[in-house]
C-alpha cells in the first residue's frame, strides 16, 4: 500500500473486530420488530396479549411509549404509528424474549387489526402530468424548490435548437454486508445504546427527538461498522431497542435480518427528470430542469434531497439562463435515505446523457461540447457559488486522451464512453476534535468509529501526524461515547478528513502552541521521537514531552488541544432562489471516468471490459486508501449503472427484498480499474485535502451509458441499464449516430 499501514488490518483479517451484530452482554434479551403487512392502513388495534402470554416475553406498541419514556418526543416522529400505517414493513410493535426464535414467535403472535387504505407507489401515479403551481398544496408534496436566472422562456425561444427529454432513474439500496444491529440498556435514567452507526451524535439527536428524552440522558457508543454507505447515518433500530430494554428491565439486542434490511432500509428512491436545453451557435443558451423526486414517507421539512440533487442535474456546467424546479413527492414507501453520494450518480447520468444527446442534435462532438461548458477554477456555478481550485477540466482532458487511445483498438461490439461528475465536502453540522499529547503517544479522542474507508483511523491520524511531526505509528484514535467525546456530525458526505480533519488540524495546532509556550521558544514547534519518548523541538530548544507536562496534565494523560470546524459555506446567490432551499456545496471536487463495454445485442447484457478514473481530490494524503475508495466506488457505481434497482408493486410492496433479485456486483463483474489523481488543485481540507468517499461512484452510470450508446447505438433514458432495457432499445432500433462505435456484429 502507498501510505501508512492500516492499524485495523491485523484484527480485521483475523476476524477479531466486534461489529454491531457481534455484541453480546450477559442477561441479554433478543428483540424483534412487528412489521406492518400493508402499505397504507388505518390501525384499528394492535393486540399484544397473545405475545405477552408467552413465557418471558416483553411486548410494546404505541400505547406503551409514553409510560416508558415519561414524556413524548416529536409528535410526527413517533416510534410506532398512532393512527395509520404509511409504509409496508413500518414497525408497529416490538417484542423481546430470551432467544431470537422466541422473539420471532412472539412477534408473530401480535394481532394487528388494520383497515387497508389506497397506497401510492409511484411518482407518476401521484402526478401523471407535470404538476402545476397548485401542486405545492398537495398532501403528496413534501418540499418544493425553484430557482431561475434570466428569462427562460425567451432564451428557449431564441435558441436555434431545443432538445427536450424525460429521464427516469430507479431506487438503489445501500446493502452493507452487516445489517443494522445494536444493544441497548437502561439503567436508572441513563439510556445507553451500542450501535453500528456512521453518526453516534446523529443517533443521540434522533433518539432524543423520537423518545422525548434529554440528550444528556442518552449515551451512544459506536461499534465497528460493517459498511454504511449512508444507510447507517440516522437512527433506525435504536429507539426500539431502548424502549424494549426499558420495558424488559434487561439489555436488549435488536438486529435486522437481511430481508428486513431491504424492507426497512432508507433507500435512495426514483426520480423523473424533464430537461429542455436550448443551443445557439454551439453554446448552451438556456436550460430548464424539472424534477419529481420520490421521497417515500419522508416528513415535510425533513427533505434534503430535492434542493440537493438539483445541482447535480445541472452538472459542472455553467449556464447563464436557467430554471430548475423540483418537487419532493410523498409515496407509501419507506422514507428516503442517503446512498453514497445520494442521487448524484443518477443525476450525473441524466445530465451527461442529455447534454451528449443535445450535442449530437446540433452536430457537435459530445465530449468537446461538455468540455467547452465546464466550470473552471475561479468561476461560479449556475447558482452563483464560487468554484475554488477545480481539477475537473484537467481530469476531463486526461480522460479524453485515454478514451481516444482505447477507441483506436476497439473490438466489434465494444464502445467507449466518458462520464463526469462533481462533488463537494459536506461539513454537515460541524465537528470538534480533542487531541492529547502524552509522553509516548498522541491521542485523538473520537466518537466516530471507523466505517471502513480508513478516514477515521488513518485519515485523522495522518492529519495529526503531519501537523505535529509525531510519527504516524505514535498517533492513536481513542473512541469515546457521546457523553465525553467531542461532538461531530458523522462519517458521511466525504467530510471526515476534509471537514472533521480541519478540527483535528486546529486541535493539533493548539497542542503545538502550548508546547511552544512551555519550551519558551518562538517559531515552528515539532514533536518527534527519541527512543520510546516523544520529544518537542522549537528552534534550539528541545525537551521531552514528559518534562513539559503540568501535574494535572500528567494525571490526565497529556497536553490537550481542542479544535472545531463548523464550515463557512460559500453562499448561493439567494436572489436566484424563488422557493425552497438549495444545498450549499463547498470545496468542489470532480472526476472524469472512462468505460469500455461490450454489449450483447441479443440479450442486452453489458460487460464492462476496462475502466479508468481520473480524480481531483486536492492533495492526496494517503494514495493507497484513496485508490481503495475509487475502486470500491466504481464497483458500487457499476451496480447502480447496470443491475441494482429496488422495485415496488402498485400497492407499494418491495418486490425484490434480497440478494437474488437485487443484484450487487460480484467479483467477476468488476474490470481492471486504472486510478489517477489529478493534482495541483488544493482543497480547503487539511494540507489541501478534499473528500474522496463519494466522488468515485458519481460518474459511473454516465460513463457506462455513454459506452453502451457508443457500442450499441442506443440512447437510454432510464437507469439502471438492465439487460431488458438495453435489449428493448436495441430491438427498437433507436440509433443516434453511433459516433465512435465500432460496428456490432
Amino acid at each position: 500500500m502507498n501510505g501508512h499501514a492500516r492499524p485495523d488490518g491485523p484484527s480485521k483479517v483475523r476476524g477479531e473486530v466486534e461489529f454491531g451484530t457481534d455484541l453480546s452482554v450477559p442477561g441479554m434479551r433478543w428483540g424483534a420488530l412487528v412489521l406492518a403487512p400493508l402499505s397504507h392502513a388505518r390501525i384499528r388495534s394492535v393486540d399484544l396479549s397473545a405475545a405477552r402470554a408467552l413465557p418471558s416475553v416483553t411486548a410494546i406498541g404505541a400505547a406503551e411509549v409514553h409510560g416508558l419514556v415519561g414524556a413524548s418526543g416529536e409528535p410526527e416522529r413517533t416510534p410506532f404509528p398512532l393512527g395509520e400505517v404509511v409504509y409496508r414493513s413500518q414497525p408497529v410493535a416490538a417484542v423481546a424474549a430470551p432467544t431470537l426464535e422466541a422473539a420471532r414467535e412472539a412477534a408473530r403472535a401480535v394481532r394487528l387489526d388494520l383497515e387497508e387504505l389506497p397506497a401510492v407507489a409511484g411518482l407518476e401515479t401521484v402526478f401523471p402530468e407535470w404538476p402545476g403551481p397548485e401542486a405545492k398544496r398537495s398532501p403528496h408534496v413534501a418540499a418544493h424548490v425553484l430557482a431561475r436566472r434570466g428569462d427562460i422562456a425567451r432564451a428557449l425561444a431564441g435558441a436555434e435548437t431545443v432538445v427536450a427529454e424525460t429521464y427516469r432513474t430507479g431506487a438503489v439500496q445501500q446493502v452493507p454486508l452487516e445489517p443494522h444491529a445494536c444493544v441497548a440498556e437502561v439503567t436508572g435514567d441513563r439510556w445507553t445504546v451500542r450501535t453500528s452507526t456512521q453518526s453516534p451524535f446523529g443517533v443521540r439527536e434522533d433518539v432524543s427527538a423520537i423518545l422525548g428524552l434529554p440528550q444528556e440522558a442518552i449515551e451512544v457508543q459506536g461499534t465497528w461498522v460493517g459498511g454504511g454507505f449512508g444507510g447507517k447515518g440516522a437512527s433506525l433500530l435504536e429507539p426500539y431497542a431502548l424502549l424494549l430494554a426499558k420495558a424488559a428491565c434487561a439489555p436488549v439486542r435488536l438486529a435486522l435480518s437481511y430481508r428486513e434490511e431491504f424492507l426497512l432500509g432508507r433507500s435512495t428512491l426514483p426520480m423523473v427528470v424533464r430537461l429542455e436545453t436550448g443551443v445557439r451557435g454551439g453554446r448552451i443558451v438556456a436550460r430548464r430542469v424539472r424534477l419529481l423526486l420520490d421521497v417515500g414517507t419522508s416528513l415535510p421539512g425533513r427533505d434534503f434531497a430535492t434542493g440537493y440533487s438539483i445541482g447535480f442535474l445541472l452538472g459542472p456546467y455553467r449556464t447563464e439562463t436557467f430554471e430548475v424546479e423540483g418537487y419532493a413527492v410523498r409515496t407509501n414507501k419507506p422514507p428516503f435515505g442517503p446512498h453514497r453520494a445520494p442521487l448524484a450518480p443518477q443525476a450525473a447520468f441524466v445530465a451527461e446523457s442529455h447534454l451528449a444527446h443535445v450535442a449530437r442534435a446540433v452536430g457537435v462532438d459530445p465530449e468537446a461540447f461538455r468540455a467547452a461548458h465546464l466550470w473552471e477554477t475561479g468561476g461560479t456555478t449556475s447558482l452563483g457559488q464560487p468554484v475554488g481550485p477545480f481539477g475537473l477540466p484537467a481530469a476531463v482532458q486526461a480522460a479524453r486522451a485515454r478514451a481516444a487511445e482505447w477507441r483506436g483498438r476497439l473490438p466489434p461490439g465494444h464502445g467507449v464512453g466518458i462520464g463526469l461528475g462533481f462533488w463537494s465536502t459536506n461539513t454537515g453540522a460541524g465537528g470538534e476534535a480533542r487531541l492529547r499529547l502524552g509522553t509516548r503517544e498522541l491521542v485523538i479522542e473520537q466518537g466516530e468509529r471507523e466505517i471502513g474507508s480508513g478516514s477515521v483511523l488513518v485519515g485523522l491520524a495522518e492529519v495529526a501526524s503531519r501537523r505535529t511531526g509525531v510519527p504516524f505509528d505514535r498517533v492513536r484514535v481513542e473512541y469515546h461515547g457521546t457523553s465525553d467525546a467531542p461532538f461531530d456530525s458523522g462519517v458521511y458526505g466525504s467530510r471526515t478528513v476534509g471537514a472533521l480533519g480541519r478540527a483535528v488540524d486546529e486541535a493539533a495546532v493548539a497542542v503545538l502552541v502550548t508546547v511552544g509556550q512551555r519550551l519558551g521558544a518562538s517559531g515552528t514547534v515539532t514533536v518527534g521521537v527519541d527512543g520510546d519518548r516523544l520529544v518537542a523541538r522549537a528552534g534550539d530548544r528541545r525537551a521531552a514531552v514528559e518534562e513539559l507536562l503540568t501535574d494535572a496534565e500528567r494525571a490526565a494523560g497529556g497536553i490537550v488541544g481542542e479544535g472545531r470546524h463548523y464550515g463557512a459555506s460559500a453562499g448561493i446567490d439567494e436572489t436566484l432562489v424563488v422557493d425552497g432551499s438549495f444545498y450549499p456545496y463547498q470545496d468542489f471536487t470532480g472526476a472524469a471516468h472512462v468505460a469500455e463495454v461490450a454489449v450483447d445485442p441479443a440479450t442486452g447484457g453489458v460487460r464492462v471490459v476496462r475502466y479508468a478514473a481520473f480524480h481531483d481530490i486536492g492533495v492526496v494524503l494517503h494514495p493507497g486508501l484513496a485508490r481503495g475508495q475509487v475502486e470500491g466506488g466504481v464497483a458500487m457505481g457499476l451496480g447502480a449503472a447496470l443491475t441494482e434497482e429496488a422495485t415496488w408493486s402498485e400497492d407499494a410492496r418491495l418486490t425484490n427484498p434480497g440478494l437474488v433479485d437485487y443484484r450487487l456486483p460480484r467479483l467477476g463483474d468488476v474490470p481492471p480499474i486504472e486510478v489517477t489523481f489529478v493534482e495541483g488543485y488544493p482543497g480547503a481540507g487539511p494540507f489541501g485535502a478534499k473528500g474522496i468517499g463519494e466522488p468515485p461512484i458519481i460518474p459511473v452510470p454516465a460513463a457506462v451509458a455513454a459506452a453502451v450508446e457508443a457500442a450499441a447505438g442506443v440512447h437510454l433514458t432510464e437507469l439502471p441499464l438492465s439487460p431488458e432495457r438495453v435489449a428493448r432499445a436495441v430491438k427498437g432500433g433507436r440509433t443516434c449516430g453511433a459516433g465512435d462505435a465500432a460496428p456490432a456484429r
Binding site: 476476524g15 461489529f19 451484530t21 454486508l177 459498511g227 493507497g624 440478494l659 460480484r666 467479483l667 480499474i673
Partner: protein
Amino acid sequence: MSGTNPAFRVNGRPVPLGEVPGDEVLLDTLRWRLGLRGTKEGCRSGGCGACTVLVDGRGRLSCLSLTRELEGTEVTTIEGASDDPVGRVVQDAFLEEVAFQCGYCTPGFVMAVTGVLREGGRLASTAELLRHLGGNLCRCTGYVAIARAVERARERLP
C-alpha cells in the same frame, strides 16, 4: 449417522453435538453456542458468503449447513485460520494488499480463498481461482484489492 456421543471438531477442538437441536445451522452454533463470532452473519441464505468456513478443508456456507449433519468433520473458522499454513498466507496477502475496508466480508473471504487455494493450489491460474469466489460479496473494495491478494497468496503457497 449420529453415534452415542456425536461430536465434531472446531479449530482442532472436539465439540459435542448432543445438545445441538437438529435444525440449528452451523453459523448459529459457532457464533452463539461457541462464541466464535469472527464468522459473520450476513444474508443467512447463501447469497453473500460472509459466513464461509472450512469443513474438512473445503469452503462451506455455515448459514446453510445443519450442524448435526457435520458430525465427525473438522471445521475451521477464521479464529483457526492462522493455524492453517494456507490460511496464514491468505491473511498476510489480504493485509499486504489491503484487501479489506470495513472488514465484515473479510473472514468469509479469507476462508473462501483458503479453501479455493487448498483445492486449486498453485497450479490453478488466478483467473480460475477467482471464478470460484463469485459467491462472496464485498461492498467496499470493488474486489480489485481482493483479486490482487488472491494472486499474491497463490504465488506464496507453502
